[in-house]
């Protein structure tokens, strides 16, 4: 092969590579189109990572074990004044300020009021969390709790 034809060969191979790069472009465009379809729309709710962090703190310290997943309640606490169950948390934003919530979480509830004064002591009570939760985690947890809302038409356990 002469030098000249070798140069044309290299040039042709270059152009083949260029064509391949073009294909790369269209493949990428297709992938991005698919990706955009599954991207969540931007809403005000989507913008608050503090709620996500708060949710994690709620799970981390096992709050759902007594207060139900997402604070929905339903966990039995025999003879407790709150309908025989551990109270749910969906209405705390209506009855507590943030500072009151912080105090309650820190100190816990050592004595649970009895529905029937002659009946047994309710087995579950809230322990103090002051040595476990503080600082940013407390802020995130309280922020999350204040954001909880009962579903429309739901008559879950009452807050107290």
């Amino acid at each position: 092969m002469t030098i000249r034809s070798q140069k044309y060969l290299v040039a042709a191979l270059s152009l083949a590579l260029l064509a391949a790069l073009g294909a790369v472009g269209s493949v990428d465009a297709k992938r991005r189109a698919e990706l955009m379809k599954t991207r969540a729309p931007l809403t005000a709710g989507a913008l608050n990572p503090q709620l996500e962090r708060g949710k994690l703190v709620f799970a981390k310290f096992g709050c759902n074990a007594c207060h139900g997943a997402g604070g929905v309640g339903g966990v039995k606490n025999i003879n407790a004044q709150t309908g025989g169950e551990v109270n749910g948390l969906l209405r705390v934003s209506e009855t507590y300020t943030r500072e009151e919530l912080v105090e309650r979480i820190r100190n816990g509830v050592p004595n649970v009021d009895k529905a029937d004064p002659t009946g047994p002591e309710p087995p579950l009570h809230m322990p103090p969390y002051k040595d476990l939760v503080g600082g940013q985690e407390m802020q995130d947890l309280v922020g999350y709790l204040m954001s909880l809302r009962p579903q429309a038409g739901e008559a879950k356990s009452e807050a107290w």
């Binding site: 000249r4 290299v10 040039a11 270059s14 931007l42």
Partner: protein
């Protein structure tokens, strides 16, 4: 004296070199374009959104507070009951302003000592423009501010 065939030879050589150079440069350019697109950040589009920022009762009467959200920083002030919202980003070089109520100004930027009043106007210092003002709406004890926001950049 150059013969006709010598001229032809030179021209054919020149064409071969030209083809090589053009093809080579175009291909290099192709790679460069792909790699540059890879590096250039995927900036999400801006959207105007009404965002809940803070509970009404957390703004002290005739006081001010700066709220830091993942999508922006908002400076809120209560002026005789009216809530005003501004961008808390100093218009000079991007530092965050702080609440500093004095006789002539209420917002202070520590970086270059910029000062703003209750309407966001520059009282003194290097800031070139007043603070960006945002529409506010107070509903059910919550303060909503209409902001131009972007989704935070995606990262690992």
């Amino acid at each position: 004296m150059k013969t006709a065939s010598e001229d032809g030879l030179k021209r054919r050589d020149f064409l071969a070199n030209l083809a090589l150079a053009v093809a080579g440069l175009l291909t290099l350019g192709g790679f460069a374009a792909r790699f540059f697109a890879f590096l250039y950040p995927d900036v999400p589009p801006e959207k105007t959104l009404e965002v809940p920022v803070i509970a009404r009762d957390q703004i002290p009467a005739n006081g001010g507070v700066v709220v830091n959200l993942p999508v922006g920083h908002v400076a809120l002030i209560d002026v005789r009951g009216e809530i005003r919202a501004f961008s808390a980003v100093c218009t000079h070089l991007g530092c965050l302003i702080t609440w500093q109520p004095t006789s002539d100004h209420v917002w202070y930027c520590p970086c270059h000592k910029g000062k703003y009043d209750t309407e966001g106007r520059v009282v003194s210092g290097p800031p070139p423009r007043p603070l960006t003002r945002y529409p506010v709406s107070v509903r059910e004890g919550r303060v909503y501010v209409t902001l131009k926001v972007r989704q935070p950049m995606e990262s690992a």
